[in-house]
Amino acid sequence: MDVFLSEKNRAVRRSVRTFCKRELMPIAKDIDQEARFPWEVVEKMGKLGYFGVQIPKKLGGAGMDAMSFIIVIEEISRVCAGLGLCLSVHYGVGVYPLMAFGSEEQKKKWVPPLARGEKIGAFCLSEPNAGTDAGGIEATAIRDGEHYIINANKVFVTNGGVADFCLIFARTNPEAGRKGISVLVAERGTPGFVVGDLEDLCGMRANPVSSIRLYDCRVPVENLIGKEGMGLQIGLRALDTGRMGIAAQALGIAQAAFEEAVRYAKERHQFGVAIAKHQAVQMMIADMATQIDAARLMVYRAALLSHQGKPFSQASAMAKLFASETACKVTDMAVQIHGGYGYSKSYPVERYYRDARVTRIYEGTSEIQRIVISRGVLGM
């Protein structure tokens, strides 16, 4: 698999792995149980450049390629999926739309602190009545002179509890249907910007997922990203990058579960031999290894296409679909290999099992990925 990685990519992997082993591994179990966002580690991650992997150097980022971004997400997720999610959403659907559609002034104003991890980004699309059907959002941003007045109720906002910089999808023209949706920046602290209660989630518990509500929140017209009516176009482009990140996250979770399963299978004895000697376990190990390998190939291909500036929407959707479903299958098998202990919090595989499940849901369900892929195949 390393044949796809440059020496620089491998150096990135080594450094992130070393950091995770020392800083994240000792607390990963606790921050999951306590549902705590580990600011003390996040600050260090910011200084090391993890929040700005692909952001150009002149804007405070590391100026690296998409493969390095994928590797950082994969390695962090291998230890703590909630923080892998934080990074993926921060850049993939938080900063990237600004880089792709924002003006130079907007980039200069917002990107440097985001690149350094001093501020954290979020993507606010889902609402109580709109998720997969993004065109059904009800939030409004009505122009009033040099401002927009935003009213919105956004739910399941990843990083919501800590985000300073939120991309809000809202209708600037309520009569124009899907073409009336725009993207605006709302910053924490603006009057009317309210962070709701944190969700008590099954997995990804280190990530402060919350609702964000905007009540008559006035933002200057300079906070509009792109032009009015470009909202869905921006959102879909962002999700191509975002899905690649989520695919890498799922890959990291699967890899962690696989490593634990292999270790346990060699240690645990039943019928006088290590359970790794039993063919039933060997079959599972082989399936896990093969599926992870295939998922990794797909994720790396999407990253390579993105780096080469080629279309990667289809590859990204396929990678996200396959990697997330692989994560669920692999974590399930890892629990099975552990038997009763796998269902206990004494072993980490139950956490991986919980973390994996949502990767099939957010940033486009497996079902919507299949629709994206089939449209690409059928040309419809």
């Binding site: 020496e7 620089k8 150096a11 080594r14 450094s15 070393t18 950091f19 090391l48 590391a62």
Partner: protein, 258 residues
Amino acid sequence: MDLNIIVCVKSVVVDAPEGRVVRSTESCELNPFDRPVLEVALHLGEVCGGAVTAISMGPEASALALTETMAMGVGRGILISDPALAGSDTLATATALAAAIKKLAPFDLVLFGTRTADSDTGQVGPQTAVLLNLPLVTWAHSIEPVTSGLHIERRADGFQEKFELSFPAVLTVHPGSVQPRDVGLHGIELAFAESKVESWSLKKLGLSPEQVGEQGSPTRVLSLKRIKKERKCEFLPGSAEEQAAELVRRFVDTGMVV
């Protein structure tokens, strides 16, 4: 007090697919015991001013380990690489390193790790110091710059020794002396995009092929095989107190507890 510090590092083998040792960028990486040494050097450079240079000897693939030192903050990386160096033992390696270090004079401090992760002789640092005719302190645990040079604390065999050392000098640095800094992405990008590892041949060092490689090596590795560690589990009988007493007795008998 600007210090000119030289750190000698090694690219060690971490993977031998199908039992074969092939030194490539995939199978080798910077010796983990060298990272604390680099931290000591970079910290001294930050406190006292000056420059840090890393040197390594090995095939071309070893340049990657030097690039990693530059990602940590080292200013200059030099790889001693020449086909005639193949088969060098520790003395031949020290001969090449000493020749390169002399080329970098004037210098104040030459630092080594105490060991490497792939062969663990611990000889190269002391041998190089002897060839350079410089004072040496091994297993340095803490290093403090003072007006006259350095105060070194050395810990070994349950004792703590303190030394005062004037420049130039050689140290081997205990791996537990400091926590090496994390390598950030900015440093990696800078090292790979803009830094270039210099390559020095034997000719540049002024050495002849007879002084290094197999010809210049008084020792030979005759064979290499993995030692199979066997573990056995034994249940000690008796009450908890009796079991504990028996366990302690065995530890004492085997020299694990004094």
